[in-house]
């Protein structure tokens, strides 16, 4: 079937690999979001199919070489292909020649099998035959990676911004029953101002029960039940109380998680959603900056109803202010820590695939499979002629391996080297 033949062709594999490489290059150089697109997925899927069919097609040959295969081949086999050599006739008995060749092959680490039939002697010798299976390890782990990638995005979840102010608790959601409490956060710097360490002291609860206490740092995530919490970012938070007609509708800390730059002043910005279209924007000035609009230690408040500004004020700590029917109290500055939370059930799969991948590639490349076939024929006047063929002829270093081996044999059998 032509389709099967197409997908078992290594030329197709080459074309697809180069196509994917070219597309990735375009994706790198431009900011096109090519990697999520169908145009990237199609050649990827075709390549996977290609790998599967090529693997199936090669199985017969690889199985044969792993199990051993026949010792004897047709006479025409020995001088076919492009990597064989016929030694000039020699005046030594063929059993002695066979013994010498076998010894030499064994000393070079080959497994040797031989057979005698009708005055002809056949030797077959191979090396690293089990390492041939490495090709399956590497190619199948590539497919595993793809499955892990798809599986991870289907069966796992990723929350990029779980923000928890100091002293507060935030729910993780995703039916996990987990909530994370931030006890303290500290950011440390070197003398030159470069960041040194970010650490969040946390307590993890499941359905209200404390299950874990930990310090989360960059490179040191907290793992619980397959869910991992990463230190991602941090920032200031404002402690605010809001009352409507005398009853408290919000009392807590609001993360100021975005920044805005206007007129050279950097400001931190946070939004408190009080529902029914009522939103409060909180603005504070960044440290060490002389901000004329919002002096240090004060908080700018903008109240919006359905996107329309209904009030704008500047707050000092512990001095309540009223906008409409709302009374705001600013209780001071605090900090929040931002976590990335993810659950990836394919985590172990990725580690396994990674290890298999490297083992497979190293096996194939560092322990190349070699196979040498020798035919010893007895000729007239007690001479014998030797034909040696090496397979696979296009495998790395096989020509070198073959020429070293042939030089050694010639030396053993005292055949003078050719001058050319």
């Amino acid at each position: 079937m032509w389709l099967w033949r197409l997908f078992s062709s290594i030329k197709l594999a080459l074309a697809l690999i180069l196509l994917i490489a070219g597309m990735s290059l375009i994706g790198t150089l431009t900011s096109l979001s090519i990697f999520d697109s169908i145009w990237f997925a199609i050649p990827g899927c075709l390549l996977m199919l290609n790998i599967l069919i090529c693997s199936l097609n090669r199985w017969k040959g690889i199985k044969l070489s792993v199990l051993g295969g026949p010792v004897q081949q047709k006479e025409s086999f020995y001088n076919a292909g492009d990597n064989y050599i016929e030694l000039p006739p020699i005046r030594i008995s063929n059993s002695e020649v066979e013994k010498k060749i076998e010894l030499l092959l064994k000393s070079r680490g080959y497994r040797v099998r031989s057979k005698t039939e009708d005055n002809n002697m056949y030797i077959t010798a191979d090396k690293n035959r089990y390492f041939r299976l490495g090709t399956y390890l590497s190619h199948f782990s590539l497919i595993l990676f793809v499955f892990a990638f798809i599986g991870g995005s289907h069966f796992g979840f990723r929350i990029a911004n779980l923000e928890v102010p100091v002293g507060s608790t935030a729910k993780v959601g995703q039916n996990s029953g987990l909530s994370l409490q931030l006890i303290s956060f500290s950011d440390q710097y070197y003398d030159n101002g470069m960041p040194k360490d970010y650490r969040s002291q946390v307590v993890l609860y499941q359905n209200g029960q404390e299950v874990r206490q930990a310090t989360i740092r960059v490179n040191q995530p907290l793992t619980y039940g397959g869910i991992r919490f990463y230190q991602a970012y941090f920032g200031p938070a404002a402690e605010l109380q809001v009352q409507r007609n005398g009853s408290v509708i919000f009392d807590g800390k609001v993360p100021l998680d975005s920044t805005s730059v206007s007129g050279g002043a950097v400001r931190y910005l946070g939004v408190l959603d009080l529902q029914n279209g009522l939103k409060v924007r909180l603005i504070s000035s960044a440290e060490n900056i002389d901000d004329t609009m919002i002096p240090a230690g004060q908080l700018g408040l903008e109240v919006l109803q359905d996107g329309q500004q209904i009030g704008l004020t500047l707050m000092q700590t512990d001095t309540p202010q009223t906008i409409g029917n709302l009374e705001f109290t600013y209780n001071g500055e605090s900090q929040f820590s931002g976590f990335q939370v993810s659950k990836d059930p394919t985590n172990t799969l990725i580690w396994v695939a990674s290890i298999l991948f490297i083992i497979g590639i190293s096996a194939v490349l560092y322990f190349p499979y070699r196979h040498i076939w020798v035919l010893i024929q007895s000729g007239k006047q007690k001479t014998c002629s030797v034909t040696i063929r090496s397979l696979p002829s296009r495998s790395f270093g096989n020509t070198t391996e073959m020429s070293v081996f042939v030089t050694q044999i010639k030396h053993e059998l005292q055949i003078p080297e050719d001058k050319n």
Partner: protein, 284 residues
């Protein structure tokens, strides 16, 4: 230590330059400065030594020594391997090139390919001197020395060998046209470039995988299509294509040599990529 670092860096630059000049000189006046030692018993078994060849080897070995010294002196100051900025990478990269160049010279008894590598190493050392950065402490994401050291060590081996493979591929393309008797045979050059990919490819794979595993620990995601990540994937794909192309009849030779050159260009794009794009690898 800072003084030793600068001194040995300059010394390595000088040694590389001398090695290149001596080799060019040797090529130009091939056969002039050779000493022949005759074996008294066997007249056929005489050995000849080319003085420029020996001097070239000695100076490239010396340059390797000085780069090693630079890396050690730097490591004493920073307390970690050469993995925090482009200055340190460039020095480590050229260490890999010269080390692999000497290995291939020893293995294949020809220094021609190493000399192309030396040109690349020379440019990298000059780049490092221009870029020179004072030792700086590690930001939190880089404080993962085990994975990071392995990640960078793989990069040194992989990029070093591929640069040698690139040298062999360039000489192959020249040799295939010119049939120069001063250069190694096209067949040997082809074997050398293939051998370089065989050695380097598992390290390139390990480089990318270690990077992905570390990214997962530091940032919570194996792969984020960050430009430097993607550029390294392109490099990997090109060399994977090379390994498969070798098996196709009619591809061995010019086409595969071109693939290696494209692969090397991808390495340069990956290496200098953080000057072009921003992303997670946005150090200078």
């Amino acid at each position: 230590m800072a003084g030793l670092e600068i001194f040995s860096l300059i010394a390595s630059l000088v040694c590389i330059a001398i090695s290149i000049i001596v080799s060019i000189f040797g090529f130009a006046r091939r056969g002039r400065y050779t000493i022949t030692i005759n074996d008294k018993k066997d007249n056929n078994n005489s050995k000849s030594f080319s003085i420029p060849d020996i001097a070239g080897t000695v100076f490239s070995a010396l340059s390797l020594f000085f780069i090693t010294l630079t890396i050690i002196a730097r490591g004493v100051q920073t307390g970690h391997g050469p993995f925090s900025n482009m200055y340190e990478f460039a020095i480590a990269f050229s260490w890999g090139i010269i080390a692999m160049g000497l290995f291939f010279q020893w293995r294949y008894k020809t220094g021609a390919v190493k000399n192309v590598g030396l040109l690349v190493a020379l440019s990298l050392i000059i780049f490092a001197i221009v870029q020179h950065a004072k030792p700086e402490p590690l930001v939190p994401a880089l404080q993962q020395s085990v994975l990071l050291s392995c990640h960078v060590a793989s990069a040194i081996v992989a990029y070093g060998t591929f640069t040698i493979g690139f040298g062999a591929a360039v000489l192959f393309l020249i040799q295939n046209r010119r049939k120069s008797k001063w250069l190694p045979s096209a067949e040997l050059l082809d074997t050398m470039s293939y051998h370089s990919v065989v050695i380097g490819f598992p390290f390139l794979t390990a480089l990318i995988i270690l990077g992905a595993l570390w990214a997962d620990i530091a940032w919570g995601s194996y792969w984020s299509w960050d430009p430097k990540e993607t550029a390294s994937l392109v490099t990997w794909l090109v060399f994977a294509a090379y390994l498969h192309a070798r098996v196709i009849r009619g591809w061995k030779g010019n086409k595969t040599a071109l693939l290696i050159i494209v692969g090397f260009a991808a390495i340069l794009l990956t290496f200098f990529g953080n000057y072009i794009f921003t992303g997670l690898h946005s150090y200078r």
